[in-house]
Symmetry: C2
Subunit: 395 residues, 2 copies
């Protein structure tokens, strides 16, 4: 039959991530297009124990309905960890979500009406565009440089768009560019948000995966008014398959999000919350994060080395201090999507994610994202040098 | 600060379920207001093994991202089980959801725009009203009798409302009344839906909890055009804390729902899907369901016996063939909400769920819902006879 869909279906684009994951599932292909954490680093044995002992300890309670906000003891542990980001919060400020993505969706749902204006980095995380797209938002892009979103550009945009409601920003090891926002700009963005009366949605999934220095204070740490909504997740530090993320915000905001969440999917998996809580209580989570961080640092280093050795001069790239992605810029005239399909996949048997998918406005087609977390050192060497060979033939 | 929320927040009412669950958490109170399955029946040991052996067998794969549609082998097992409801489907027709609630939400999201008209039983499941409320739908109620939604009333409503888009219906052991729709009406509702070109959202969480007879064919079993969207869940047969439900619909519909789901929360917990799949493969799920069914049948019988023995003549009640709820009707002038707060809670130290919360139009305040699955036989005896004593003093 002919289905008549709601109007949100006019705005919803099939996720390029989903398509890329499908493409990346070709086992013959060395794909750097996705954003998978390295599954060989998952603390499988500790998590197995955590599920096992949670069920032994809590029994049926861990399989029954919980509260929509999520397990209080896990929310308390998140509060404790947030202190390191300079965020002082209580469990009433924390809502557990179905991964970080649901945090974006709930924030968009409670604050954004159709046609509302939001500001975001350009390029930005394409996964965030799903929740924004279904609200048919008006995207206004803010230019970045190597210190993150440019504050002069932001102020200009805020002046041009007094109707703007929210700034979406990924301050640490941004997806897709790998760029980190300086502390000065974190302070400044909160000032500007106050001055122009907009909210800030701080999406911060990679913060703890910093290779060298100490973690930087979160944007929310400079927030004295409840203007910043912070999103965190265990997907990159522990594993994505438990679907556990969180929102930190004012109690009023959390209450409203919780009401909406209770109405639409009720809660996270109880047993996943108990197991994560057990793991954080009994395992060495910080030690585990150090292991992941060191492994990713090594992968990034190797990727940079191979790029330096094999890429032609006119391919430039970022060199992130953490996270899981870096960003290439080809000469102006290159269409990275076309080059991927016509040359890189057939000749190098490797793949990147074309950059155009990440732009909310005016895509630069001569860009692409590479992920290093999901591949082995050997695969990085092989795949990136094969790409380098193709690039040398083209440029 | 003063937050400016989106317009959906104007329509979203705090969940009465959440409030009731809070009230029911008073350990001094014998609450029959919620809809909890009996946690003492959860197959904790088998599920513990299922988590354990899934993680031993699949390792990191069970903790990594999965596909948005959900684990194929679990979807296949759901297809196999759907055959018993007369539904012949393939895994491409199945999307796993975060409990049954997300199935309602995704259906509402892809088909309903603001102000769209939907038809539903009156009373109906108040939990479904969350997803409908946020779309600010126009509710049109259809009267019920002891054979479910009345088809003459439905036809009349469809004639009066040619703009209607969807019929929401719970055919088996309806929440809140416990009433089951006859097979004749299941066939007829599909005919009417075709004639008036509306969709049917068949919400069926309790189907397998039938006490005496064989399961009835689902409404969807009479669907030849893809007009019926069927919602199932493991929440009442296995446990709610794994958050696993499913949608069965045409591939096109499933594809659209999957795109939306991928954009808003990505997927169910991978490990929960693996564990459920393992459980269905290796444990005696049907035997387990028989155990649950028999226990609930006994609880319902006991509740009916105590009501017959202690309730005054002018309190009438349904006697369901399955599921977890029954429905009381007090004399016309009684306000069940008021009586709950002023008499039943203080004097009987027990609670029911006032019926008004379940009406999408024209609430009958002289009604209430009682849940029997969540209490022991002794608690049923004690709580219901205490209620009976209060009722005898009032009427």
């Amino acid at each position: 039959m002919n289905y008549v869909y709601s109007s949100i279906m006019d705005y919803l684009r099939p996720s390029p991530v989903a398509e890329m994951l499908k493409m990346a599932s070709d086992p013959e292909l060395l794909s750097f297009a996705g954003g998978m954490p390295d599954a060989t680093l998952f603390p499988v044995e500790h998590l197995r124990e955590s599920f096992d002992l949670s069920l032994r300890e809590h029994g049926a309670k861990a399989l029954q309905y919980s509260v929509a906000e999520g397990l209080p003891s896990l929310r308390q542990k998140i509060c404790d960890r947030m202190l390191r980001a300079g965020i002082d919060c209580e469990i009433e400020n924390v809502l557990l979500t179905q991964g970080g993505t649901q945090g974006i969706d709930l924030s968009a749902a409670i604050f954004l009406d159709r046609g509302d204006t939001i500001l975001c980095e350009n390029p930005t995380y394409m996964g965030a565009m799903g929740p924004f797209d279904v609200r048919d938002v008006n995207y206004v892009s803010v230019d970045m440089d190597e210190e993150g979103m440019r504050m002069d550009a932001l102020e200009q945009r805020l002046r041009e768009h007094p109707e703007a409601k929210l700034i979406y920003v990924i301050p640490d090891f941004q997806n897709p560019t790998g760029v980190t926002m300086t502390v000065e700009r974190r302070r400044r963005i909160v000032e500007l948000a106050r001055e122009y009366d907009v909210l800030i949605l701080e999406d911060n999934p990679y913060r703890e995966l910093r290779f060298d220095h100490d973690e930087l204070p979160a944007i929310k740490s400079f927030d004295t008014e409840g203007r910043v909504i912070f999103l965190g997740t265990f997907s990159k530090t522990l594993c994505p398959g438990m679907r556990l993320g969180w929102v930190v915000a004012e109690k009023e905001v959390i209450n409203n999000m919780t009401t909406l969440r209770a109405a639409t999917d009720m809660q996270c998996s109880s047993i996943a919350m108990y197991a994560a809580d057990f793991f954080l209580e009994h395992a060495d989570f910080d030690g585990h994060i150090r292991t992941v961080r060191d492994a990713y640092a090594m992968k990034k280093e190797r990727m940079i080395e191979v790029m330096q050795a094999t890429f032609p001069q006119d391919v430039s790239f970022t060199n992130p201090d953490g996270g899981i992605f870096l960003w290439l810029t080809f000469p102006q005239k290159v269409d990275a999507g076309l080059m991927l399909r016509e040359l890189v996949i057939p000749k190098a048997r490797a793949a990147y994610m074309p950059g155009e998918a990440f732009y909310c406005q005016a895509p630069h087609r001569n860009t692409c994202r590479l992920n290093y977390s999901g591949r082995t050192l050997e695969e990085i060497e092989r795949g990136i040098s094969a790409m380098g060979e193709v690039f040398r033939q083209v440029f």
